[in-house]
């Protein structure tokens, strides 16, 4: 007993997830390299987000960590254990929701959870699981009768019945309406507050900002930035974004170097139809910008200012736009 306890404590001291130089390529012509040397450490008790556009390798990465895919090379440790030696022990301690599982339409909420509960040696009762995702009133409804948000909450409940130490969520709110998204965020925050570790993937920057303690921005199969949302936003050189446009034919008359010299501006981007400035203090930058336009005799067509977001971090790092990537 004592020995077991020691061993468990030993595992407890290890991080929830460690990935070292993870690589995954799919054969074909040309060979598709989905993950190219990804390093990651997720600590116990944190909610960690993999943020990136579709096709960045997020799902491949999370499925390797979940033990569903074999990496081409590299090491993965989950809860201090390796998949090759301790697969069963890991599976008993994790909960997974995949990007698109359609659980059997014909079964009820309770039947589905009873089924998943039966796979785990220990866990919470099905009633507690239903309550924690606010589905207790739907317990006898068939899955075909559930809304998209309810189905997604059920998917989370199937991951919770084994009372996992570590919870995986792949694009948990994709395709949900704003109300359902907020409801799911509440549920996930409550899970995190109970001390569970969460790894989620998302291409929504607001989701990552609101839910995650730390975020890794993933692009082309690699982590290109890592930190708390605040740190990442601060790293783009300013909390504010000032965007302005002048009448179209005058656009190229604005000069990037002159703009960069304006008060508190840390960087400048030419967005073709408008200019975007990162600013430490918007209330210093805006008057300076207006005087510059006045001096150059440029006619202001639009002016907006907003808080910098993870979106701006992504744009700054890749020169591309998260949203453009999704529609492309």
């Amino acid at each position: 007993m004592n020995h077991d306890q020691d061993e468990t404590d030993l595992y407890q001291q290890k991080p929830a997830i460690v990935c070292r130089d993870l690589r995954k390529s799919y054969p074909g012509k040309p060979v598709v390299e989905a993950v190219r040397g990804l390093n990651l450490q997720v600590n116990r008790g944190e909610c960690f987000g993999l943020l990136g556009p579709n096709g960045a390798g997020k799902t491949t990465t999370i499925e390797i960590i979940e033990g569903l895919l074999q990496p081409s090379s590299g090491d993965v440790e989950v809860l201090g254990r390796s998949w090759t030696r301790d697969g069963e022990a890991i599976r008993q301690r994790i909960g997974v929701t995949l990007q698109e599982t359609q659980l059997s339409d014909k079964l009820t909420v309770r039947e589905t959870l009873d089924l998943f509960r039966s796979f785990y040696r220990t866990g919470i009762t099905v009633d507690v699981a239903m309550k924690s995702v606010s589905l207790d009133e739907k317990k006898d409804a068939r899955i075909s009768q559930l809304s998209g948000g309810q189905k997604q909450r059920l998917a989370v409940a199937t991951a919770l019945v084994g009372d996992p130490e570590l919870l995986f969520l792949d694009e948990p709110t994709t395709g949900l309406d704003p109300t359902s998204r907020r409801q799911l965020w509440e549920i996930l925050r409550a899970i995190r507050d109970r001390g569970k570790t969460i790894l989620l993937t998302t291409h929504y920057m607001d989701e990552a900002e609101r839910l995650c303690d730390r975020v890794a921005i993933v692009d082309h199969g690699q982590v290109i930035a890592l930190g708390t949302p605040r740190e990442l936003i601060a790293s783009v050189g300013g909390d504010h974004i000032v965007e302005f446009s002048v009448v179209a034919e005058q656009h190229s008359r604005a000069d990037a170097f002159r703009l960069l010299a304006l008060a508190d501006v840390t960087s400048v981007r030419d967005e073709v139809d408008r200019w975007s400035l990162n600013s430490k203090m918007a209330h210093h930058t805006i008057p300076a910008l207006l005087s510059y336009l006045e001096a150059e005799n440029l006619a202001l067509a639009g002016l907006t200012t907003r808080q910098a977001s993870l979106e701006d971090v992504f744009v700054k790092l890749t020169g591309r736009n998260l949203k453009e990537e999704q529609t492309a």
Partner: protein, 357 residues
Amino acid sequence: MTQPSSSSSSPQHPIYHLTMARIMEFLRQPDAVFWSYFFPVLMVLALGLAFNKRQEPPVLVDIVDSQLHEKLNEALKANPRIQLKDASIEQATLRLRTGRTDLLIEKATEGSGHVYVFDPLRPESVSARSLVDDSLQRSAGRKDAVEVSDRSTSDAGGRYVDFLVPGILGMNIMGGGLWGVGFAVVQMRIRKVLKRLVATPMKKSHFLWSLLASRLVFQIPGVVIILGFAWLTFGVAAQGSMMAALVVVLLGALTFSGIGMLVACRANSIEMVSGLMNLVMLPMWLFSGIFFSTDRFPDAMQPIVQILPLTPLISALRAITLEGAGLFEPAQLMRIAILATWSLISFAVALKWFRWT
């Protein structure tokens, strides 16, 4: 946090929940229930009625010369089954070729006789020729050289429907195993349910066992309905033991579940699995003796015919229901061995090749 504290032991074994899930999914699909249980019943009814006529079928004869018609009319009156019809040579030839008439009689080009035109490969055509010729020769004064008499065998146990029912039962077991297991597996693969399940600590063998268990549970009402219906409507009764029949049925269900699993073990689209199933089932539909005895196939084909898994299943069922055979006669043991071999091989290969994600 170390070990989940709010633990409560799992209420039932995973195989129970997996099997119940399959059963519930099936029962909550009324159309699936209807097709798997009532289609074979409709088949028994249709074929049973078609081959269970109280009267012998008429013999249809076309005559292409009206003078000849008059001459033959008198002679053929003696046999009421023979129905004569005038037709032009073109019409009659077409009717013969398309099976709408059994025999064509035309005037011989030389002499006063006539010519029978018939299809020697079509049983009705052959029997029409000999029946008509027999009637003509007798009315012209031919005497039988040997005295013979007939006795009919169309009493219960020797009719076509008695022969047919075990065939339909075998077909139902084959279709049920392949579609029931194969389709379910591919659907779960497409819907990513298999992937979700392997992300849990579920034992893969539990999943496969539950597929088998649910298949056996579904097969029992199928057998009861087919046999019950055949007994009620046509008085079809088994000569041998029902327990022996049940053992063979369950072994058959096991074998075809295994083959269903094998067919579905890598397929990831409904089109692909449907094509494979039809490919697997087609030779058995043709050669395994569902509708007629496999003895009709040439000797050279027999090794292939007898090794198809549906053949020993139907033969074993027929031996039990028609001949009252048990399970331990050498011929029956051989059939059981062939079935068991098929199920072992298909399970082993399916397990090895099975794709979960």
